[in-house]
C-alpha cells in the first residue's frame, strides 16, 4: 500500500500477456486487485491486459508480465517482440518459469508422442514446448502454481520504485 500523498505523476506502464497455461496466475492477479485496486489504478497504466480491457496497445512499456509456456511459433515471435518493447520482463507461474505443466507433452513416451503428432501437425504447434527463459532473458520470475502473491507484490513494488513511480521507502 502506498499513501496517496507520496504519489508522483508518472505511472508504471505495464503489459500482461498470457500464452499456453490455465491462466491461474492471471486470476490470482485479478484477485489481488480486491485489496490493491485503488493503488494500482493510480500507479499503473495497463497498456495491454486482455483479461481486463478491450483497448490494448502493443508498444513500448516499462514492465511486461508473461504467463504461460510457448507452444506455437507465432507465440514465440510475440514473446521476442515483447522483449524488445519492454524494459523489464517478469515471468509468472510455473508454465512461464519452467514450462510445466503446459509442456507436459515434452515428457511423453514415443508411443504417446506419435498419438498426438497429428494434432501438433494440424495446428502447426512447436515440436517442444518452451518456457519463457528458454526464449528470452527474463529479469524476474515469480514461481508457483499459481504464482506466489507475496513475491509478485515484492517484484511489482520494486519496479514501482525503480521506474520512479513511487519514491524509495
Amino acid at each position: 500500500m502506498f499513501p496517496t500523498c507520496i504519489l508522483m505523476a508518472k505511472k508504471l506502464s505495464l503489459g500482461i500477456f498470457s500464452f499456453s497455461c490455465c491462466e491461474d496466475s492471471s486470476i490470482v492477479l485479478v484477485e489481488m486487485m480486491n485489496d490493491h485496486w485503488k493503488d494500482w489504478a493510480k500507479l499503473i497504466d495497463f497498456k495491454y491486459a486482455r483479461i481486463l480491457q478491450t483497448k490494448n496497445t502493443l508498444g513500448e512499456m516499462d514492465v511486461a508480465i508473461i504467463e504461460g509456456a510457448i507452444a506455437h511459433e507465432k507465440d514465440r515471435q510475440k514473446v521476442l517482440e515483447i522483449r524488445k518493447l519492454a524494459k523489464k520482463v517478469v515471468a509468472i507461474g510455473s508454465c512461464a518459469c519452467v514450462g510445466l505443466p503446459a509442456g507436459q507433452r515434452n515428457l511423453f513416451n514415443e508411443e504417446t508422442k506419435k498419438e498426438i503428432q497429428f494434432i501438433i501437425d494440424k495446428f502447426g504447434m512447436m515440436e517442444k514446448v518452451e518456457s519463457i527463459p528458454q526464449i528470452i532473458h527474463v529479469d524476474d520470475m515469480v514461481v508457483g502454481c499459481p504464482m506466489d502473491e507475496a513475491k509478485f507484490l515484492e517484484v511489482l513494488n520494486k519496479y514501482l520504485v525503480e521506474f520512479e513511480v513511487v519514491p524509495k521507502p
Binding site: 491462466e23 491461474d24 484477485e31 489504478a41 480491457q53 478491450t54 507452444a71 507436459q104 511423453f108 495446428f123
Partner: protein, 424 residues
C-alpha cells in the same frame, strides 16, 4: 446495394482464455461463421494416464485457473465413484462450500469485470472506477468474500489443497467461520445493485434453443440426473448417449450437440430449469428478478449469474451457521479398479468426468467441458446476430458480437484439452 465484408476478431477480450472469430458476408448472406477456440492444447488426456488415481484431481485442477475447483471436485467424485467410496455428509458439505466460494468469486468476476463494461459502455472495470467507484467497491468486496470462503474451506481459491479422495484434509477454524459469515452477509447487501442493473439492461437476444443441467433439491453443484427442456431426466452416467461430439476443424476444441441439436448450459439453463430449488432467502429477496425466468434471452445469463451469486451466499451462510465441523479420517479405497462418472455444475455449465482406473492408476479420463457444449450454440447466435444487424457500422457490429460472446461467459482454458477425434 448488397453487402460484402469480412469480420476477423483475432483476440476476443474480457473472457477467460484465448478465442477468435471470423465470418464472411457475401451478398447480404452470412457465411462461414467460425467461433474459434485458439488455446494451444496441453494434452491432459494423455498426461493423466498412469498417474495415481488418488492424486490425479490435483493435476486436472490445472486445466483451468478460474474453474480449477470445478475440475478438482468433479474428478474427485468420479474417482470415488469408480472406487465405490461414499464420502461423509460433512465432506459433501465442505465440497459444497468450496464450490460456492468459486461461484461467488467467478460470477462476480464475469458480472463486474467482463460484462458490466459493456452495459456502461466503458472499456474496463478501471474506467468504471472513474465514474461509478461504488460499483467497483462492490465488485472487489463480493469477489473477496468468495475468494476468502474458498481459502478458508479448501486451503486455496485456485488449485485448492484440502479436498481429497474420501475426505477433506482440514476443517475450518471456528473463529474464521464467524469472520467468513460476517463477510458474506456484508457482500450479500451489495449484489442487489448488480441484479437491478442486469434486470434493467436493454440488451436482448432471444432465440429458441435447448437447456441442459444436472438436477438436485438444493441448487448446489452436484446432482445425479441430467434434466433438459426437451425430455425426461436421465441418469448422469448416461451422458454419452445424449451428447454428440461435433468436429469443428478450425477450433482446437470439439463442440457438442444434445440429442442432435445445439443447446446451452450454464446459469441461464439452471435458472430456466430448476429455479424452484434456490435457497429460500434468495427466493424471498430476489423474487422480482427470479420471475424473469424461464427466459430465451441469452443476455439474461448475466442476471441468472447474479441470482446464483446471491444463492451461493445464502446457502453458504446457512451451512456455516448450522454446522459443527469435526475432524474426520478420510475413507481409504478398498478396491483398486473401476470406472466412475461424475457430473457437476461448474459456474459455466455442466462438467462431466469419466474415469477408468486399474490398480489405482488412471487408465483413461474423458471429460466434457461447459464451453465446448455451448460452442455450437454460440456460432448459431453470432450468425443470427449478424444477419439481423447487417446495417450496423462494422465497429459497432464487432462490439455486438464480442458482447454476445461475453454474455455466455466462455472459458477457453477449459475447452481444449480432451480431444480424441482425428481429422481426415
Amino acid at each position: 446495394m448488397h453487402l460484402d465484408f469480412d469480420i476477423n476478431l483475432d483476440a476476443i477480450s474480457k473472457i477467460e482464455g484465448h478465442a477468435a472469430l471470423s465470418l464472411k458476408v457475401r451478398n447480404d448472406e452470412v457465411l462461414d461463421v467460425q467461433f474459434q477456440i485458439t488455446e494451444q492444447k496441453r494434452f491432459y488426456s494423455q498426461a493423466v494416464r498412469g498417474k495415481s488415481a488418488l492424486n490425479v484431481a490435483q493435476l486436472v485442477s490445472r486445466i483451468c485457473g478460474t474453474c480449477s475447483i470445478a475440475h478438482l471436485s468433479c474428478c474427485l467424485e468420479a474417482v470415488e465413484n469408480a472406487l465405490k467410496i461414499e464420502p461423509t455428509q460433512q465432506t459433501k458439505l465442505l465440497r459444497k462450500l468450496t464450490t460456492y466460494g468459486m461461484y461467488i468469486r467467478d460470477h462476480a468476476m464475469h458480472l463486474y469485470m467482463f460484462s458490466l463494461p459493456d452495459v456502461l459502455r466503458k472499456d474496463s472495470i478501471l474506467e468504471i472506477a472513474e465514474t461509478s467507484p461504488e460499483l467497483v467497491e462492490q465488485c472487489f468486496k463480493i469477489k473477496a468474500a468468495g475468494n476468502n470462503l474458498s481459502k478458508l474451506i479448501a486451503g486455496k481459491a485456485i488449485h485448492a489443497t484440502y479436498p481429497e479422495i474420501g475426505g477433506h484434509a482440514q476443517i475450518p477454524d471456528k473463529e474464521a467461520v464467524k469472520k467468513s459469515i460476517a463477510e458474506l452477509k456484508s457482500a450479500r447487501e451489495e449484489i442487489f445493485d448488480m441484479m437491478q442493473i442486469y434486470h434493467e439492461s436493454d440488451f436482448k437476444f432471444e432465440r429458441e434453443t435447448r437447456y441442459v443441467c444436472t438436477n438436485n433439491d438444493d441448487f448446489s453443484y452436484t446432482g445425479d440426473e441430467i434434466i433438459s427442456s426437451t425430455g425426461t431426466p436421465v441418469p448422469k452416467s448416461h451422458y454419452l448417449w445424449h451428447l454428440q461430439r461435433v468436429i469443428l476443424p478450425y477450433s482446437t476444441s470439439t463442440g457438442f450437440q444434445f440429442r442432435g441439436k445445439e443447446f446451452m448450459v450454464g446459469s441461464l439453463a439452471r435458472m430456466n430449469l430448476k429455479k424452484n430449488s434456490l435457497h429460500k432467502d434468495t427466493k424471498r429477496d430476489a423474487s422480482s428478478y427470479i420471475a424473469e425466468f424461464p427466459s430465451k434471452d441469452v443476455y439474461k445469463n448475466n442476471l441468472a449469474q447474479a441470482i446464483e451469486t446471491l444463492h451461493s451466499i445464502d446457502h453458504s451462510i446457512e451451512l456455516l451457521e448450522t454446522t459443527d465441523f469435526r475432524p474426520e479420517t478420510p475413507i481409504a479405497p478398498t478396491i483398486k479398479d473401476g470406472i466412475g462418472v461424475a457430473a457437476i455444475e461448474a459456474p459455466r455449465g455442466t462438467l462431466y468426468y469419466h474415469v477408468e482406473i486399474g490398480d489405482l492408476k488412471v487408465k483413461e479420463v474423458d471429460l466434457v467441458i461447459p464451453t465446448a457444449q455451448n460452442q455450437v450454440n454460440i456460432g448459431f447466435d453470432i450468425k443470427q446476430l449478424v444477419e439481423t444487424n447487417l446495417h450496423l457500422p462494422k465497429p459497432e457490429l464487432e462490439f455486438e458480437i464480442e458482447k454476445l460472446i461475453r454474455a455466455y461467459d466462455p472459458c477457453m482454458s477449459c475447452a481444449t484439452h480432451f480431444l480424441k477425434v482425428k481429422w481426415l
